[in-house]
Symmetry: C2
Subunit: 368 residues, 2 copies
């Protein structure tokens, strides 16, 4: 019962959700658990306790320690996608990590030392020994037993540096220690083995499936985040990782810089055509870039970002309508694509096409 | 034929558009006219010439002269809505104003003087005489005659100051001249009469219907833009305005400040309940405000803006799903509502419900 959260209140579930339990809110206010509702089956419902979202026990550690935001967003989104493979969004409820506290995560992210025996980064050394482990993320997956939610699975993400930034003395210049892919892989797996053993030592985590996924962080100046390269599914009780599944995922920035490798000549040309059409639209030039992600050479999706100056709301409307047409004509089909249109005043409109759809939907932001 | 733009190329029209003409682009490049396509029947298609959007002849005048951006967006959006009443988006194509040049608009916006005889603002005087006219916007409405687009209607928006900001000497303090509603109304209509006469003197504008609409600008510190208060439809040939139609439109900011008049106690309570639920969600407080517009006491729509700090992508997802539920439960039904969710890093997600719909759709922005 240590794993169960009594659902004293009644679950609020959005219309059309797959796991509609009860509705209403007549109950007493003591330890009331609700769910966030589900806007679409691609997302997990989350846990609300007494009207407050149940935040992570290690909330804010990544935000305070990782400088390239793309490494945080990419890590968390990618980890969710890996979780979804094991823990269906229809069956499981997502809970922010409750088993690794801020203190524990901070210690684990530190270097091993006398004062920090649980540090998962290597002891200080000379020549400089890089820090490998940069982020730890815990995701809990709950199932509903009657009116209780109980922990039924966990995913742990470990983000490994591809570059470690350090200074030799306080206020000294920032130096970079590059870490080879082979090292990222080796060190990541070694850390994962230790983490699994430590988790199994917690009574509540002994017998649940635990997925551990490894992410290679991008450098601080990268315009895309890093990528997952392996994960292991560990059945309840397993204290050793028996099998790693390789993930062949890579992010690119379009337009591809000259001299850099292109993931797909077709997609590159498609984007370049789109870009030159769009840049032609206004007399003033628009900035057009995109992030693209590939898995096993197949485009997972594109996030297109367009920045331009607008002189009227009617220009925003016309431009957005034009983009819808141009995106459909030029950009790769079959992949989900988001397009955000921004000016110095912030987002002006956005267009989106989901996987398998032909047409883009659009939204133009306005005000009263 | 002065009004006709030869459609040398072939019109590109988005799928599902009501006025599908031709598709393809085999033609020569000389003076090729295309349309932007139409993302939804609530928007006009716009005119593209030789691959470039046909921008307004007075492009940028408002942006350079009006300090409260909300007065620009609100003026242009509102003017489009008035245009749609006279010129159906299904039948007419929108063209940015081509008959009032930057020089002309700047002169008209100036004070009348020896060097500027066409100035529509009063001569300098003592005591200080305020500037009434602040913005002029021209919208052209075209119809398709075979392969030609010809001008078939025009809407002119005149924005009148409710406060005129001025200095007595260069670098002196900014002073405010308040303008009463009665003056806004009187001066606006007098200026409109002159504008109509001037437009009719242009050969191309003699015989088309011209709508003139009057907007009262909000003060520079207002968190909502101004509002339209009257418009006149002038049939082809008419050189005098025979009838003004009153517009009873007003914008509000929620939460209503104590002591300020509420447009609707029900809507005010609904918003306050939504706000307190939402602010309860995270341990850190969220800012929750809204712009609301009423016509004849009926809610036209709401733009809700939520700002909070997020510590992870999963928090953004859970919050957005929760908002969908809370918005549906608490916010006024039957009116279109947009909700944007922002952090210091910009927009994180947004939710939207169109008029007549029950459910909100949502989009969560992410990155690779």
């Amino acid at each position: 019962m240590a794993l169960s959260i009594a659902l004293m209140g009644v679950l609020l579930v959005a219309c059309g959700s797959a796991d509609n339990l009860n509705t209403g809110s007549k109950s007493s206010n003591s330890s009331k658990t609700e769910l966030t509702g589900q806007t679409d089956s691609g997302y997990y419902q989350g846990v609300i306790k007494n009207g407050h979202y149940q935040t992570s026990k290690s909330r804010g550690v990544s935000v305070s320690q990782v400088s390239n935001q793309l490494n945080i967003k990419g890590f968390e989104n990618g980890l969710l996608n890996i979780s979804k493979e094991e823990f269906s969004t229809k069956k499981y409820v997502f809970q922010e990590g409750q088993y690794l506290s801020t203190a524990k995560v901070e210690n684990w992210l530190g270097r091993k030392s006398k004062s920090n025996p649980t540090g998962l980064n290597p002891k200080k050394g000379s020549p400089y020994v890089p820090n490998y482990l940069s982020q730890i993320s815990e995701q809990d997956f709950m199932t509903e037993n009657g009116r209780n939610l109980s922990l039924s699975g966990m995913t742990i993400g470990l983000a490994i540096n591809s570059v470690d930034y350090y200074t030799k003395k306080t206020d000294g210049p920032t130096l970079e220690a590059d870490i080879s892919d082979a090292q990222v892989n080796k060190q990541g797996k070694a850390i994962a083995a230790k983490v699994l053993k430590r988790l199994r030592a917690q009574k509540a985590l002994k017998n649940i499936p635990i997925v551990i996924a490894l992410y290679k962080q991008a450098s601080d100046d990268s315009l895309v985040g890093g990528n997952f390269f392996a994960y292991a599914v560990n059945d309840g009780g397993a204290t050793k990782i028996s099998k790693w599944t390789k993930v062949n995922q890579k992010n690119y920035v379009f337009p591809i810089q000259s001299g850099k490798k292109s993931p797909s000549k077709t997609d590159e040309d498609a984007f370049d055509n789109f870009k030159s059409q769009v840049q032609n639209f206004f007399p003033n030039l628009s900035g057009v870039t995109a992030q693209a992600q590939y898995s096993d050479g197949t485009l997972n999706g594109m996030k297109v970002s367009i920045t331009t100056q607008f002189y009227s709301q009617t220009e925003i409307i016309s431009f957005t309508q034009y983009l819808q047409q141009a995106a459909q004509k030029y950009l790769p089909s079959n992949a989900p694509i988001d397009i955000t249109v921004q000016s110095t005043d912030g987002i002006q409109s956005f267009l989106s096409r989901n996987a398998g759809e032909k047409n883009f939907t659009s939204h133009i932001f306005n005000s009263y």
